[in-house]
Structure formats: structure tokens, C-alpha cells
């Protein structure tokens, strides 16, 4: 029996506009784009020219500092544009897909016959390595450093997140092959939800499993690392999304890359809120439909950690969902400091949402609903932060730029996403995720 780790601190936010159980397979988008910003910590060097034809699986750009890390096109087609922003920063590398897709063949592999370095080499060459993230610093890892362990979370507890156990159906072999391959590189830890019987049943002897039970952020890999095998100074761990393990499995079994994801599109302003089978980088307008576009916010990812995009933007490389919420649903709300505001959700008991049960759905918009202040209330972050870290003190150490304190308080164990709920509940409206990101970046600059 795998042990169950109970997560008590956290918060499940219920929003209106949940997805139905249907899965659609929309037609190929008219345009795909690889966005280097999706891969934090990478300095992109574009290796294709505009007008060039690429197969799916051919590099579009590489990391200047680690040229072996390749970022490949998810589709075959013509590179139409390399879009650059201020200071010639690469913003988008757009590919117009062919009608008949051609995919680069890496050759079928037998996992049992492979070793760590051959797996790594294959992942690097096929572009799958780019999906890894490394702690510390929450960046694309450097392939030269062997990780202590690899962590995968088989479930996502964020609002409207896709259910991995459903996605897994019919792909159990790929899942097993992917995990087995990862285990060749380093010890693999897998966090499973206590409710995911389908995943638990596939018990894989190569990986160390733990069951997690509790509200969001129980599904965040950072929380699971902290509970299973915390990161110490000097150690490096890699993390990978559950669906990306399937990508590895597909590559091993078919010899070709297939990044098809089953993502959810949901939210109050989303039309046809359901699951979609799409490729990363697909233009959002090809499958996301929005009511009241003027007053909508399209989010690449979930409402807590995702970033705002335009509807003609592209699905993020790591995005497993697209959320569409109103930008402002209640403009010029009078006397917010005293009105009962029964339609608003708050963890604070000065609102009435805590009396309405956990099932009640709330309409959320993107308003901050207050001005940014110094941190006033104490203990707010702790209620939604299950890691064995003092979040408030860590955030303050980052604000103060005190590297010794950051290290001592556990900066190496965290990623900005771990602080998303802290930012949500903060009554002083501190931009916690931005602060942590800046702290990680400054630390990386200092240390590397």
C-alpha cells in the first residue's frame, strides 16, 4: 500500500464555467508558433530561416548556452515568420502547417535496452528535453548536470484542470514506457491523487509513488517534492508534466514525436467549455471561442498561474488548459470596504462566501480588488501553503535581496507557481509570484 500524504493547507476555488466531459478534435490550426518565453531561462538562437520547410521534430531554435537543448516544431510546414520584439528578442517562430504532415523519424526504441545517456540523447534530439523544468530556479535544465531525481505529478488540482486519469485511458503502455525511460536517467518520484485509482492501478516498480489527498496545491509538483524528497542546496531535480511523460512514451514506441495534448478550455466567457485535442503552439483562435471578446481575458493556463494572451496568440508549450474569464464583471463597485458583496468570493469571513458551501460557483474577473500595500496581515499565506517553508519570510527575504536568507528559508525548493494561492489570498495584494520569479532569476545570475 502506497502511503497517503494528506495536504490540509490549501484552497479549491470554484469558478463558474466549468468544462463538460466532451472531447473535441478540432481541425489543424492555420498557424503554429513556438514561443521562447515559455521556456524560462533559455537564450534562444533561431536555427531556421523564414520560408524554410521543417518537418515535425526539427529544431526551430536552440539554447545559446546549451546548444544541445533543442526546441522543435510540433508540426511540419513552412516557417513563415520569426517575430522579434524590443532589443531583437525572439517573440514567436511561426510555422504554417502542411496539409499532409511529415514527421522526423527517430527510430523505435526498446527501453530496456537503453541506458541513461542514450535516453537523454534521444530526448535532447527530439526536443522533448525542453519540457523538463529544473529546481532550483524553475528553468529549463542544463543537460550536463545529472539530476538527483525526476518528479512527475499525475494530477492537477488547479481550477478547471484536465483530469489526467481520463487522458491516460488507452495510453497506458506509453505511460509505462515513458516512466521507465525516465528511471534510466535518475530516480523517479510520482505523485498521484488519492482519487486516481486508474493511475494507482498501473503501479510501476521503477518509480517511487506517493498518494496525495487534499485541496489545491496538492497537485503541484513543488508541494510533492517538498513532502517526498525536498530539494537541498546543491541538489538539482527535474520536473515533468504527466502528459509529457506520454510524449516520451509515444516517441519510444513509434519513433516519432507526437505532442498532442488533451487540454481543457473553460471559464465564464468560454464558448463550448470542454476538452480539446490540440498541439502546443496552436493558434488559440482555431479552437477557443469567446463571448464578449472586448471584456474577456484569455489565459494561457489556469487562472492562478497562467498568463494573459490575445485570442490570436498561441497555446503555450506547457499549457494544459485555456481559461477565459471576464476582465471586469462588476465595474465601479461602490463602497467595497463595507458592502456585503455576496457575489464575491473570499477566504475572509468578512464576506459571506464561507457560509455558502464549497460547491457554490463564483464569477471571477481579473480585478485586483484593492490597492497594493506592504504586507499587513500575518498568517494569510500559511493557510494555503502546505510546504514546510515560511512563505512570508521567504518573500520578504527576496524583497530585501538577502541571498543568505533566501537560501536558508528554502528558495531552492520553490517555483513561482507554488505561491499562486498566496498571491490570490493576499489582502495587501502583493505580487508574490513576480517577486519569487525575480528572486530566483537574481539568485541564478549570482550563482551560475
Amino acid at each position: 500500500m502506497t502511503n497517503v500524504i494528506k495536504i490540509r493547507k490549501g484552497l479549491d476555488i470554484s469558478l463558474t464555467g466549468g468544462p463538460s466531459n466532451d472531447i473535441a478534435s478540432p481541425a489543424m490550426a492555420a498557424l503554429y508558433s513556438l514561443v521562447p518565453d515559455d521556456f524560462h531561462g533559455v537564450t534562444p538562437k533561431v536555427v531556421v530561416k523564414e520560408g524554410e520547410h521543417v518537418d515535425a521534430g526539427v529544431s526551430l531554435f536552440i539554447d545559446k548556452n546549451n546548444p544541445s537543448v533543442k526546441f522543435v516544431s510540433p508540426v511540419s510546414g513552412i516557417v513563415t515568420k520569426v517575430e522579434r520584439g524590443a532589443r531583437r528578442k525572439v517573440m514567436n517562430i511561426m510555422v504554417k502547417p502542411d496539409a499532409n504532415q511529415t514527421t522526423r523519424d527517430f527510430g523505435k526504441q526498446k527501453v530496456s535496452a537503453m541506458n541513461g545517456s542514450s535516453v537523454l540523447e534521444l530526448l535532447l534530439e527530439s526536443g522533448l528535453f525542453a519540457f523538463f523544468r529544473q529546481r532550483p530556479y524553475d528553468v529549463v535544465p542544463s543537460p550536463g548536470v545529472t539530476p538527483r531525481s525526476i518528479h512527475v505529478s499525475a494530477f492537477d488540482t488547479a481550477p478547471f484542470a484536465p483530469r489526467f486519469e481520463d487522458i491516460l485511458q488507452g495510453q497506458e503502455k506509453e505511460w509505462a514506457a515513458g516512466l521507465e525511460a525516465l528511471a534510466k536517467i535518475a530516480k523517479v518520484y510520482l505523485g498521484i491523487s488519492a482519487k486516481q485509482n486508474a493511475v494507482t492501478a498501473l503501479h510501476n516498480k521503477e518509480v517511487t509513488e506517493a498518494l496525495f489527498d487534499g485541496p489545491h496545491p496538492a497537485g503541484l509538483v513543488g508541494v510533492q517534492i517538498n513532502k517526498m524528497a525536498p530539494v537541498n542546496k546543491g541538489e538539482v531535480v527535474w520536473t515533468l508534466g504527466a502528459e509529457e511523460v506520454l510524449f516520451i512514451g509515444r516517441l519510444l514506441m513509434s519513433g516519432k514525436i507526437d505532442f498532442t495534448r488533451t487540454i481543457t478550455v473553460a471559464g465564464e466567457n468560454a464558448v463550448d467549455a470542454q476538452s480539446y485535442k490540440v498541439l502546443p503552439g496552436a493558434q488559440l483562435s482555431s479552437f477557443v471561442k469567446v463571448t464578449d471578446l472586448e471584456n474577456s481575458r484569455v489565459i494561457n493556463g489556469n487562472v492562478l498561474t497562467g498568463n494573459k494572451v490575445q485570442l490570436d496568440g498561441f497555446l503555450g508549450a506547457r499549457s494544459t488548459q485555456v481559461t477565459v474569464i471576464p476582465e471586469v464583471n462588476c465595474p465601479d463597485e461602490p463602497f467595497g470596504w463595507i458592502m456585503p458583496r455576496v457575489k464575491q468570493f473570499s477566504v475572509s469571513h468578512s464576506y459571506f462566501s464561507w457560509l455558502c458551501g464549497k460547491k457554490k460557483e463564483y464569477s471571477f474577473d481579473a480585478r485586483i480588488k484593492g490597492g497594493e500595500r506592504h504586507m499587513i496581515m500575518s498568517g494569510e499565506y500559511e493557510t494555503v501553503f502546505p510546504m514546510d517553508i515560511f512563505p512570508e519570510y521567504l518573500v520578504k527575504a527576496v524583497i530585501a535581496g538577502n541571498i543568505d536568507d533566501m537560501e536558508a528559508l528554502g528558495i531552492y525548493e520553490v517555483a513561482p507557481e507554488d505561491f499562486a494561492l498566496c498571491e490570490f489570498v493576499c489582502s495587501s495584494k502583493v505580487q508574490v509570484q513576480r517577486i519569487i520569479r525575480e528572486g530566483l532569476d537574481s539568485l541564478r545570475e549570482e550563482m551560475c
Partner: protein, 392 residues
């Protein structure tokens, strides 16, 4: 409301950079966000936010203070009536107190918020709401006869030197309202302590009766000056109702309890701090009872009387729980609260100079709060450091 919003939108450009009223930007900003929840949307980080903000938080605290304030007003009239036999009825007593206290509230807010507005304008920040609470606390913790000009000086001192120099609400080390009081206490002792300050012998707008040289001791004052260990006033229910002389808002245990319920119900004040203050006070008082210090009435006073008298309840509920200046870690809150309660009683019993120790106990612990937190956080740091060693 819509017309008002349109008006605000129309005049807004005047207050922006380059507008002719730019010097009043902070005032305009303050008014606008007071009337309407800002429409600003998230640019980074989470796309959705909890509806709670610091304005609402501070407003709830002010609401929690209202019962104690209203009772305080009534008690000012009641004590005046009792001492001068002015013959006021219930409403007479209340209005007497209302007229006595209102100018103090106005002075405190005008001075404090005035400074806040200026600082916000100067630092190009939004106005911090912290003074909404401090501004109402200040008149509630001074004796009724405290002159307004002294109150104005003390408020200005506290806001500038206890808060703004540290960076505003959230950055201050000491409770701002208590700094006001401690400033008055040491700079103008004759207006803040002794027997002549607790009951007003003046008329307000013709209400009440003028009486010179009126002196009334607080129960704690009586106990302090007693020469035998039984010299304290026996416990009676007036001490719970609050019909005793004292600072304006601090006397009624019941009114403060209503405030405490509001704060605990809304989770704004920490029950950990609040409860441990009472436990600390009770434990210390019982300890002194057992010691049997000869001739010390304070030491012999029963624990429940200690907790009911003076500023103990008020301090425990509204001052010790100030999230900014108290301990911030969960464990730290228990330690902080316990020591506040214990020190308050120690000062009462062992210090021959001051009858009340709550103010000094809280300020003392304000200094130590970061140290308490430091050790709590340090235990987490040590654990992390050990993990590295184990691995090696």
C-alpha cells in the same frame, strides 16, 4: 453612484501628472478608492484575486471598536453625573460623553490622516489605511480630560516617528496608537495619570456641571496607593459593565467582548494572540496571589479582577493583536501573547510608579516580536540545514 463616477472620471485628469490639482492627487485617489473598488486588473501573477483588501480589513476593525466607543461615551457622561450630581438622564449622559469625545476623534483623524495624505503625495503612493484604526484607537485610550492640543501633538509625533519614518503601515515596529499614548504619558504625566484626569468636571455646550478640583481614582489607582494587601477595591459587576473611571474606551469588558467577537468571527484578529494574552495575565496574577507579597494590594488582587480592570481587555483585543507589530508566526503568537499578559501584570504589581502596565507590556513585546519570530523561523532553517548534513 453612476453620476458620481462620471464626475470623478471627468475631474480625474486634473489630478494626474501635469494637471493643475496634481498636488492633491493622494486625496483624490483616496476618495475615489473609498467610493469605488478600483477597476484595475491583474498584470502579472494570478489572474483572479480574493475580494478582501486592506480597506475592508481596517473597516471591520473600526466597526469592532464601535461598541466600546459608544459605551465609552456613555460612561464619560455617567462618571461625570456621578461625581458632579449634574442630574443628567441616560441620553443626557450619552450626549455629554459624545460631545466630550467627538472633538478628540476629529483631532486625531484630522492630524493623522493629514499627515498620511501628505506623505502619500510626497512618496507618490496610495494612502495607507492603517490610520483608520489608529485614529479611532487614540481617543479611546486617553483620559477624557486630555487637552486637544496635546492630543494633536502626540498623534503627529506617533504617526511621523512611529510609522512614516519606518515606511508606513505594515512597516512600523510599534503600535502607532500606543506610541501616542506613551508619548502623552511621559511628556505630559499630569494630564495622563493621577486622580484628576479620569472624570470630566467641565461642561460641554452647556451640558453637565462645572466642578473644580474633581478627583476620582481608578480602581487600579486605588490598589496601587493602598498600604495593605487588602486595599484593592473588591470585585463588582460594574468592572465588567464598565461603569468605572478609566480611559474612554477601555472600561467595559462587555463592549470589548462584542468587538472581540467581531474580530475573531471575521478572522481579522488572531485568536492565538488574544487568548494567550489572557492566559498570560491570569497565570501571572495567580502566581502573585500565591506569593503573598506583604502590603501589596496589586499582588493580592484576584486574577479575574486584574483582567477586567484597566486597559487589559482593550489591549488584549485591539492592540496586542495588531498583525503588523505582533509576532507573525503561528507559534510566535502564543509566546508573544503570553508574555504581553504576563508583563502587564508584572508591571502593575511590581512597579510602584505606574498603576497600569498593559501599554508598556505591549510596547515592550512589540520590540521582542521580531526576535520571537526569528527563533521560530530559525527552527525551520536549522531543520533545512540538518537535512543537507544528513545527505552528506
Amino acid at each position: 453612484m453612476k453620476a458620481l463616477k462620471n464626475y470623478f472620471n471627468k475631474v480625474k485628469p486634473n489630478f494626474e501628472e501635469g494637471g493643475k490639482l496634481h498636488a492633491f492627487r493622494s486625496v483624490f485617489d483616496g476618495m475615489e478608492t473609498f467610493l469605488f473598488v478600483p477597476n484595475d486588473t491583474a498584470k502579472t501573477g494570478t489572474n483572479i484575486h480574493d475580494a478582501m483588501d486592506s480597506k475592508r480589513m481596517m473597516s471591520i476593525v473600526v466597526i469592532a471598536l464601535v461598541p466600546a466607543l459608544l459605551f465609552g461615551m456613555y460612561n464619560v457622561g455617567y462618571q461625570h453625573n456621578l461625581a458632579t450630581t449634574a442630574g443628567l438622564d441616560f441620553w443626557g449622559m450619552f450626549f455629554y460623553g459624545f460631545l466630550a469625545v467627538l472633538p478628540k476623534i476629529v483631532v486625531s483623524y484630522v492630524v493623522g490622516l493629514g499627515i498620511e495624505f501628505v506623505v502619500a503625495q510626497w512618496k507618490n503612493e496610495e494612502i495607507h489605511e492603517g490610520f483608520l484604526v489608529s485614529g479611532i484607537l487614540i481617543p479611546m485610550i486617553v483620559p477624557v480630560s486630555c487637552p486637544l492640543w496635546i492630543l494633536a501633538v502626540a498623534t503627529a509625533f506617533a504617526v511621523i516617528f512611529a510609522k512614516e519614518v519606518f515606511g508606513g503601515t505594515g512597516m512600523n515596529i510599534f503600535n502607532v496608537a500606543l506610541i501616542t499614548r506613551v508619548f502623552l504619558f511621559f511628556a505630559y504625566p499630569s494630564k495622563m495619570s493621577g486622580d484628576a484626569v479620569w472624570v470630566s468636571g467641565d461642561t460641554f455646550f452647556g451640558l453637565g456641571k462645572h466642578l473644580d478640583g474633581l478627583t476620582t481614582a481608578t480602581p487600579l489607582g486605588i490598589a496601587l496607593s493602598a498600604t495593605s494587601s487588602t486595599g484593592y477595591k473588591p470585585f463588582n459587576m460594574d468592572m465588567v459593565y464598565g461603569l468605572i473611571p478609566g480611559s474612554i474606551g477601555e472600561t467595559s469588558v462587555i463592549a470589548i467582548a462584542i468587538g472581540a467577537l467581531i474580530l475573531l468571527f471575521t478572522n481579522i484578529a488572531s485568536w492565538k494572540t488574544m487568548l494567550s494574552v489572557f492566559i498570560g495575565g491570569a497565570v501571572m496574577a495567580i502566581g502573585f496571589n500565591q506569593m503573598g507579597l506583604e502590603g501589596n494590594a496589586m499582588a493580592a488582587m484576584p486574577w479575574y479582577e486584574h483582567l477586567a480592570l484597566g486597559g487589559f481587555c482593550f489591549g488584549a483585543v485591539f492592540m496586542a493583536t495588531d498583525p503588523v507589530t505582533s509576532a507573525r508566526t503561528s507559534t510566535g503568537k502564543y509566546i508573544f501573547g503570553f508574555l504581553v499578559g504576563a508583563f502587564a501584570i508584572i508591571i502593575r504589581v511590581l512597579n510602584p510608579g505606574y498603576p497600569e502596565g498593559m501599554m508598556l507590556a505591549i510596547l515592550l513585546m512589540n520590540i521582542f516580536a521580531p526576535l520571537i519570530d526569528y527563533y521560530v523561523v530559525q527552527s525551520n532553517i536549522t531543520k533545512r540545514a540538518k537535512r543537507i548534513k544528513v545527505n552528506q
